[in-house]
């Protein structure tokens, strides 16, 4: 599998990263270098091997249904690049 400029453009869009046109080809090269190296995984027979979902031998912990958090709107706004009252503000989103 080889990554080309269009692939980099597509995944950069999915990842919401602006990659300038002139960087697409070098990025494709860098990714190909890594993917060529990773190709070696193809030689392992993984048939019947379960994919790991967790290294932990433990059941998922549950918490009781109680209101223990929230009421922090001001603390939430403290690091916001832009806010209006206790709303976060972003450029107009068109639906």
């Amino acid at each position: 599998m080889s990554v080309d400029k269009d692939t980099v453009r597509r995944i950069a869009k999915l990842a919401r990263l602006a990659v300038p046109e002139e960087n697409l080809a070098p990025m494709a090269d860098a990714l190909n270098g890594i993917f060529n190296w990773v190709e070696m995984l193809g030689e392992v027979n993984v048939e019947g091997v379960p994919a790991m979902t967790s290294v932990i031998a433990q059941k998922l912990k549950w918490r009781p249904d109680a209101v223990t958090d929230g009421g922090n709107a001001d603390a939430l706004m403290a690091n916001a690049p832009e806010h209006e009252g206790t709303f976060f503000v972003v450029p107009k989103v068109v639906e």
Binding site: T7, V8, L17, M40, L41, V44, K61, N79, P81
Partner: protein
């Protein structure tokens, strides 16, 4: 006052009231200032440190105090610290000031520790040399014989390894996703322990790869690692992957020696082309343990060579998702004059993330994307199962494994930054441990011919940090590693 204390010695001196936390803390504040050329700290918190020291002295005066009362520590900038800027080594967090304290650091403050500041690191813990930090590289306090070339302190916890090696703090916290505690410890002549996954809470630590990340101590001695881990570790209801296992007294469990301990030597760790110094040190380590009554057995971890490529699928995949929240909306860097919301995302993230982080986000996005998931991510998670099974098999024959910690000593700043795969190979001995969720300890064991530190690694069974530490203590005692870097930075 000198800052060349171990954590244990300083603790005992404080308890005996031979020194005060205030004096100790002032000395470290001065050392941190003098150490600025090393670029180990990104945020210094001297006032906070002095206030915490004063409170500790008051408690000590009343005969009270926790396990770390009055002891000045450095905190990797990946731990969220309430009211203190936390950057994860990235521009994208801007001047993020967390309104909350990570569980691990809260545990430390509850035990009475004093915070000196936040240490430099590779951006989002992605790197093995601390060169990807938005705050610039950290320099290793160690230099090769007859050389003024600046070397890397390892990464990603390079600021912490540097600060411990240069006596800028008594000990530091680190995090380890593929070797980020052990590898920098090894190349700075310090001790680094990555605990079992689930031993330290991840709550409040900026996530890189959630299934691999684990916090741990970076110290001057094995005893110090045992002490610090005892306070960092906890069972945390706020972290679903925190394991419900009580925290033992690791320092106490150091006693007893290693007579009868079965030490496995995984044959696959003899890598072609590795420097002969590494192999020689490894053999020496085995001899040291044998001399103290351990039994050496050869074991096999057949999937070892697949660990790094597996890691470079799993970790970027998780990172691509974990780093999606850095979007310029609720905190952190926001690009100016964005045309619309998509433009805002794309520009903010392109401006905020450095090259290595962007590369990993793209790798992760690719391996999870439609049509590639099975070939990459699903296959890598199956390999993880095989890698973990290798360890289970090996532990039928032994109690602990001995391996080199790194493929070589610290290298020069800039040496490997152009070749990602060459850089990734620094973690070749450490990364398997993260994939299997096991504890691993790097202990300084000797110097290269050029006078640079090298470490050995001990790998244990899940939640058996005690055995790892006891074996580490045996190596430490046999190696008698008492070397210190020349103090060149004070003059700089």
């Amino acid at each position: 006052m000198s800052t060349a204390f171990t954590l244990a010695k300083a603790r005992d001196a404080l308890k005996a009231r031979k020194i005060s936390s205030k004096e100790l803390t002032q000395s470290f504040i001065a050392a941190v200032e003098q150490g600025r050329p090393l670029n180990a700290f990104v945020t210094e918190t001297p006032e906070k440190a002095l206030a915490m020291a004063a409170a500790s002295d008051a408690r000590l005066a009343k005969g009270e105090g926790g396990a770390l009362e009055g002891l000045p520590l450095a905190i990797k900038d990946l731990f969220c610290t309430k009211g203190v800027r936390t950057t994860a080594g990235s521009r994208i967090l801007g001047n993020f000031v967390p309104p909350y304290e990570s569980t691990v650091t809260q545990n430390l403050w509850n035990a009475g520790a004093v915070m000196l500041g936040k240490t430099n690191m590779d951006e989002f813990a992605m790197g093995s040399s601390n060169e990807t930090s938005a705050h610039g590289p950290v320099f290793n306090p160690w230099r090769a014989k007859n050389s003024n070339a600046n070397l890397v302190p390892g990464g990603s916890s390079g600021g912490s390894s540097c600060a411990v090696a240069a006596d800028l703090c008594l000990a530091a916290t680190g995090t380890d996703t593929g070797g980020s505690i052990r590898q920098p410890a090894a190349v700075t002549g310090t001790v680094g322990l990555k605990p079992t996954y689930g031993r330290c809470s991840r709550w409040g630590i900026v996530a890189f790869a959630s299934s691999l990340d684990q916090a741990g101590p970076m110290t001057k001695t094995v005893r110090d690692a045992a002490i610090l881990l005892g306070s960092m570790a906890s069972v945390d209801a706020k972290d679903s992957t925190s394991m419900d296992v009580p925290v033992p007294d690791y320092e106490k469990l150091l006693e007893g020696g290693i007579k009868g301990l079965k030490v496995g030597i995984p044959k696959e760790y003899r890598m072609d082309g590795a420097p002969p110094e590494i192999a020689a040190l490894w053999d020496k380590g085995a001899d040291w343990l044998k001399a103290q009554g351990a039994e050496i057995v050869e074991v096999s971890l057949p999937h070892t060579k697949y660990a790094l490529p597996t890691y470079y699928i799993v970790a970027p995949a998780e990172c691509s998702s974990n780093l999606a929240r850095y979007d310029g909306v609720r905190f952190g860097h926001r690009a100016k004059s964005a045309r619309d919301i998509t433009d805002l995302y794309e520009k903010s993230r392109a401006e905020g993330f450095g090259a290595e982080v962007q590369r990993r986000i793209l790798i992760g996005t690719y391996v999870l994307s439609a049509g590639y998931y099975d070939a990459y991510y699903a296959r890598a998670q199956k390999l993880r199962t095989l890698i973990a099974r290798d360890f289970t098999e090996a532990y039928r024959k032994c109690d602990v494994l001995l391996t080199p910690a790194t493929p070589g000593p610290a290298f020069a700043v800039g040496d490997k930054s152009d070749d990602p795969v060459a850089m990734y190979l620094n973690d070749v001995f450490t990364v398997t441990v993260n994939l299997a969720g096991l504890p691993g300890l790097a202990v300084p064991a000797g110097l290269t011919e050029t006078g640079l530190p090298l470490g050995l690694q001990l790998i244990g069974k899940a939640f058996d940090e005690a055995t790892v530490l006891r074996a580490g203590l045996a190596i430490e005692q046999a190696a008698g590693f008492a070397h210190k870097p020349a103090n060149w930075w004070r003059a700089a």
